[in-house]
Amino acid sequence: MTAALLDVEHLTMRFGGLVAVNDVSFSARRGEITALIGPNGAGKTTVFNCITGFYKATVGRIVLRHGDPLGEAELALLTRRGERRLKRRGGTLYLLERMPEHLVAEDGRVARTFQNIRLFSGMTVLENLLVAQHNTLMFASGYTVLGVLGIGGYAKAERAAIEKAEHWLEATGLIDRADDPAGELPYGGQRRLEIARAMCTDPVLLCLDEPAAGLNPREKADLTDLILKIRNDHATSVVLIEHDMSVVMEISDHVVVLDYGVKIADGTPAAVRSDQKVIAAYLGVAEQEVARVEAEVGL
């Protein structure tokens, strides 16, 4: 078995006295779609925020592997050293819990979308996709100095960036709206644009926070096609939070279920679907369970 792309180990997140996530461990394998599900308030978005660096985990280790997987010895060495990353042969190890959020995105190449859409609504669709390629373009413009003077290869880099943006606009069906402000797109279009913007950062891991929320059945079908295409055609693995079980069961390779901040199940969609604990968490306790408890207390 190859090592996972992302390992979340013993993740705990406390906000004062509230334990939002309690000792959760799971893996997301390369080239797979991993779904993170659970009832409202289960701590799914908190896990996302810890992975992407927006929250600093109280306890736990989050390991991301680029390229050839490195062994346990290297991981132990990196953990001991207190550094953020370890580069060896053709692979790199990152400890995401030690990185600020913009470095998780830039170096770790982890892209994310938000539950409540966060687009640059006053900028055009194309501008949104160019902002996503900020670091590449910043380097091409000589960190602004050469760009202001008009020397260096900035014009060429910008053309390449626009081409990449066009590719993702076509993939998401937004090419005709490229010059419209992002805030004028319909809701489904905004959701797709957020995914296109995340993909413009060339991520190895894409984290989608409820991508199907508020979409109609047709848009949901388009979205599942898009996510499958991202996994199949690009070297991008996906972790997604989703409440719509039809979407989750259709596209995920692996499902992790959280309830009250604790992991209650982990496995293939079919296995999770028939797991008693999951059913209890979603639908309340099963009837025979109620009968058994009632018998125990003597009712």
Partner: protein, 455 residues
């Protein structure tokens, strides 16, 4: 009575009622503002004077305006609203497209126009008080536009960087004897350094809190200038600041002066015209650099920061350095403007760098439409030129009485103008945003979609 006549008499009654209400409100408002005036007498005691004549004129004007509004303007607007809707208040295409080159051509030949119209002695005032004064504010507006308009960081202490530039030039020119052209970039760099210094502590602040801290920063700089007497000479200021030369040729009456070298009769107008073109070049440089920056990734990152900071971070943008570059770039242009100001005046004191200046510059940026270059330039002309032109309105004395001084009312008019703009054009004079890049077609973006930043 016919229906039309009935409606007219109804209108007339409503107009009288409105006029009466306006008269009462106007009287209550202007009685303390205009009706009373305190002046010091010979013993330096304040004496209350009444100006009921002027008050009466004010109230009469308001009453008449309210009467006409209800009787004439409101029915006219209602009729117009019933007509088939036209394109909603769009500026004709040719005007918006040709305004910038036309305005640029005008400012380039402005000294020549004034010289032919008023002659050399009259032109001095028009080029200096209007031309140079306005252009300094245009440049400051462009500079602040980067911080407030693009990056969405409300900076109420912008005058601090203007002061840093002015004092840097004045002190270094006097002590080291370096030329204006050497010190201009140096003043910009020093101001940018202070911009970064201010930037660090306010990185985590947003909105009102950011505004308060920047405001305090402006005051701190001013108080340091007042109290650090060994260096800045306190309230007395620094006089005898070296004037800029014509690339080495001084503007004086000596044999090696500008007039003598070019075989012209000596006149102070040459220096004024030279200063005019100097500040024009500086302002155009600021506009040019800002336009270029907007099309570079750093400019897009500033605008993205204004739109959504969290999304920026999720895309790998280092928001710390992005904010600091915005503060530094804005401050750098204020430093240039400040050193020009010191060189033009020949004298600087802390009085030139009060909060009022910051407020004026912020007002220019907000009135112009945040992020718009042309809007800011027009707003600077209106705000600075408007207050200057009040000095020229002597005919108002015929209406309001002999002791009426229009300059005293500039703050009142300033307030009226702000209220009027906020009612009719809440997003500023130029209320669209130009995208920095386009695929097929350049479409302007309504300001309603553009966020103003978290501060």
């Amino acid at each position: 009575m016919s229906g039309a006549a009935q409606a007219r008499s109804l209108n007339f009654a409503a107009a009288c009622k409105d006029a009466g209400a306006a008269a009462v409100i106007g009287f209550a408002l202007f009685l303390p503002l205009v009706g009373f005036n305190t002046v010091p007498n010979l013993n330096n005691e304040l004496v209350l004077q009444t100006r009921f004549g002027t008050l009466g004129t004010f109230v009469a004007i308001i009453t008449a305006a309210a009467f006409l509004r209800t009787l004439v303007v409101a029915p006219w607007l209602a009729r117009r609203a019933r007509l088939p809707a036209r394109a909603p208040g769009k500026i004709p295409h040719w005007l918006s497209r040709r305004f910038a080159p036309f305005a640029l051509g005008f400012v380039l030949i402005y000294p020549a126009i004034v010289l032919t119209l008023t002659g050399p002695s009259g032109a001095l005032k028009w080029i200096d008080n209007f031309g140079i004064q306005i252009l300094i504010y245009v440049m400051l507006g462009f500079g602040l536009n980067i911080v407030v308009g693009l990056a969405g960081l409300l900076d109420l202490g912008y005058v601090a960087f203007y002061a840093v530039g002015a004092y840097s030039y004045a002190l270094l020119a006097k002590t080291l004897g370096l030329s204006f052209y050497m010190l201009l970039p140096l003043a910009g760099i020093l101001a940018a350094f202070w911009g970064i210094l201010l930037g660090f502590p306010v990185l985590r602040l947003r909105g009102d809190y950011l505004a308060i801290v920047t405001l305090a920063f402006g005051e701190i700089i001013r108080l340091v200038l007042i109290n650090w007497i060994p260096v800045t000479n306190g309230y007395a200021g620094i006089s005898g600041v070296p004037r800029p030369t014509f690339f080495g040729i001084p503007f004086n009456a000596n044999d090696d002066g500008f007039a003598a070298v070019f075989g012209l009769p000596f006149s102070p107008i040459y220096r004024t015209i030279f200063l005019y073109y100097l500040i024009l070049a500086l302002a155009l440089f600021t506009a040019f650099v800002t336009l270029r920056l907007r099309r570079l990734p750093v400019g897009r990152a500033w605008e993205a920061l204004r739109e959504d900071e969290i999304a920026c971070r999720a895309l790998g943008i280092n928001t710390t350095s992005t904010k600091l570059t915005a503060f530094a770039t804005g401050a750098c242009f204020a430093g240039f403007a400040g050193s020009f100001f010191a060189a033009r005046q020949g004298f600087i004191s802390p009085d030139s760098f009060t909060f009022m200046e910051s407020a004026t510059i912020v007002a220019i940026v907000v009135l112009g439409g945040m992020g718009s270059q042309i809007g800011v330039a027009v707003a600077a002309v209106a705000m600075v030129g408007g207050t200057e032109i009040l000095r020229e309105l002597d005919f108002l004395k015929e209406i309001f009485g002999k002791d009426f001084d229009p300059v005293q009312y500039r703050m009142l008019l300033f307030g009226f103008a702000m209220v009027a703009i906020m009612i009719w054009k809440p997003r500023g004079l130029v209320s669209t945003r130009d995208p920095s890049v386009f695929l097929k077609e350049r479409k302007t973006i309504s300001r309603d979609l553009v966020k103003e930043g978290h501060g």
